[in-house]
């Protein structure tokens, strides 16, 4: 029987080529999907992304609230006038108001009335206390319109020189504490996210190694077909990228959903005991726009990190085969 090797031409009959091409149009993946424990990995990625996304959201809310507190406090200073023997305190308060209004950057200044002072002290002294019988300091609230041109040290010096019993409190201690607390929260959040991402990377490394062990025959065949390591790594990377996208999307969506539910639950508690304190702390409990952006960026980062980790793990394992 005469055997003829087929000629390598590209002018083969189109119908035959088209038939064969129909097989390859949806070419099967070289690494079989069912040979990788994908469901488990997607679940792990979703959980990690959810936790990281939730952390981003919570830190964003706290950071925004801390900014608001610092901004509110930083927009005013207080002049305290202590009662001294032989000094008419009301005159000193009036002088302090007039003095403060002369300073650049000051939007206004006013002394707290007796009634306002009484209201401030009510939690400690009880209602209806006659303050005239007590040596209670008087306060002048100075609003700052333009913080850049306002010189708090100059005001403090002027008050010290011209107002008897007067001193300035710029709330620097509170601002510093708030700033330190907000920074601590942000660093704690970054630390938590880093730990979660490290755990995610380790999970992907283990899953990749397991996938390689389960596909050793495929890798051997690819090797003797002349596949380069990057080609083999690419086959695994493609599968793991899909797992990363799926798990990251599920986890990110759940994190945003959890925040929406938390906002709805806190909003729904308006009027109940404690609700006013929560609102005082956090303002209207809603997620800043940047948090949505960060969670979306997290989803993309998780998918890319998953793919990159699997690629590096495959290449490292292949190098170790020699």
């Amino acid at each position: 029987m005469k055997t003829a090797v087929p000629k390598r031409t590209r002018t083969a009959a189109v119908p035959k080529a088209a038939r064969a091409g129909a097989d390859a149009a949806n070419a099967s993946p070289i690494v079989p999907p069912q040979a990788i424990a994908g469901r488990t990995l997607v679940l792990v990625i979703a959980i990690m992304t959810f936790l990281a996304g939730f952390t981003i959201a919570v830190v964003s809310v706290i950071d925004r609230a801390a900014d608001a507190w610092a901004s509110d406090i930083g927009r005013e200073v207080t002049i305290e006038v202590r009662p001294l023997d032989g000094v008419a305190i009301n005159d000193e308060v009036d002088k302090a108001v007039a003095l403060a209004q002369e300073f650049s950057g000051v939007g206004g200044a006013r002394g707290l009335s007796d009634a306002e002072t009484q209201r401030l002290l009510e939690p400690w002294l009880g209602p209806g206390t006659d303050l005239s019988a007590l040596p209670v300091p008087r306060l002048v609230v100075v609003s700052i319109d333009d913080a850049s041109s306002f010189d708090v040290k100059a005001l403090a010096d002027a008050v010290g020189r011209q107002i008897r019993g007067g001193s300035v409190d710029d709330h620097a201690l509170w601002v510093d504490r708030l700033s330190a607390m907000a920074s601590s929260m942000v660093f704690a959040g970054i630390g938590l996210m880093t730990l979660m991402l490290v755990a995610l990377v380790l999970s992907v490394v283990f899953a990749t190694r397991a996938a390689m062990a389960g596909n050793r025959d495929v890798i051997e065949v690819l090797h003797f077909c002349g596949a380069e390591d990057r080609f083999i790594a690419g086959q695994f990377q493609r599968r793991f990228l899909l797992f990363g996208v799926e798990g990251g999307t599920i986890g990110g969506a759940l994190a945003l959903l959890a925040m929406a539910i938390a906002a709805w639950a806190i909003g729904g508690s308006a009027g109940r005991p404690g609700a006013d304190q929560i609102e005082a702390l956090f303002g209207h409990f809603e997620l800043p726009g940047t948090a949505y952006g960060l969670v979306l960026a997290l989803v993309v980062a998780v998918a890319l990190l998953t793919a990159l980790t699997s690629r590096l793990a495959v290449r490292r394992s292949l190098s170790a085969l020699d």
């Binding site: 029987m1 055997t3 003829a4 090797v5 087929p6 000629k7 390598r8 031409t9 590209r10 083969a12 009959a13 035959k16 080529a17 038939r19 064969a20 091409g21 097989d23 390859a24 149009a25 070419a27 099967s28 070289i30 079989p32 069912q34 040979a35 025959d217 495929v218 051997e220 065949v221 690819l222 090797h223 003797f224 077909c225 002349g226 596949a227 380069e228 390591d229 080609f231 190098s319 020699d322």
Partner: protein
């Protein structure tokens, strides 16, 4: 093209399974590699396609000393060698067509550029009507032919076949032998490892006989 000089191989600290192998394989040549089971035929084939490194001696493949090869250089050399394994090594989750086309996919070629070649080769080995089928459904002979087609699809310069007729009946074995001869006629050097004396007697070709790790060559 291929040159072995005093090549020895041992696994771990055991005895040498191959000792002092010295031979050459010329371009366009045809040879059988034979010997009893366990004599070292498959080990020698693994050395020939860079799957093993020798313990001692020199192996030169396509003019390159394999001891000096970097890992990144190996794929390019392996692409010039086609291998047919005794156990076929077909991927069960790919169709016959996809298995045969695998070397082209590895090369990153567009499917349209090799579609016709693969279809023609499948027709040529008698698997034209089995290209949609997955390997677990193929018979032993069909798997063997699919494995051969995969090794031939990129027209390698050197073809290694380990017991390529071990799972087929005599008529098909003769047909496969003709297939290898035709390939050789077109310029590919062929080495067939077999212990089928009948197959070797059909052809006046060089015989490399390996026994106890030592090689005798009968030109």
């Amino acid at each position: 093209m291929i040159r072995f000089e005093n090549v020895g191989l041992r696994y771990g600290t055991g005895r040498e399974v191959l000792s002092d192998l010295t031979f050459s394989i010329a371009p366009h040549s045809f040879q059988f590699l034979t010997g009893p089971s366990g004599a070292g035929k498959t080990t020698l084939i693994r050395l020939l396609f860079l799957n093993l490194k020798p313990t001692r001696g020199l192996i030169s493949i396509f003019g390159k000393d394999t001891a000096l090869l970097r890992r990144a250089d190996m794929p390019a050399l392996r692409r010039r060698i086609g291998v047919v394994f005794q156990d076929f090594r077909l991927l069960d989750h790919l169709t016959t067509y996809e298995n045969v086309a695998l070397p082209y996919r590895v090369l990153g070629k567009d499917e349209a550029s090799y579609r016709a070649d693969v279809a023609d080769l499948l027709d040529w080995v008698g698997l034209g009507d089995r290209k949609h089928v997955y390997p677990p459904v193929l018979s032993g002979g069909e798997k063997q032919r699919a494995a051969i087609a995969r090794a031939l699809i990129t027209k390698p310069e050197f073809l290694l076949a380990d017991e390529p007729t071990g799972n087929v009946d005599p008529p098909l074995a003769r047909r496969l032998l003709r297939l290898f001869l035709e390939l050789n006629r077109l310029g590919t050097a062929v080495l067939i490892a077999t212990h089928d004396i009948g197959l070797m007697d059909q052809l006046d070709a060089r015989r490399m006989v390996i026994e106890g790790g030592h090689l005798e060559i009968y030109e």
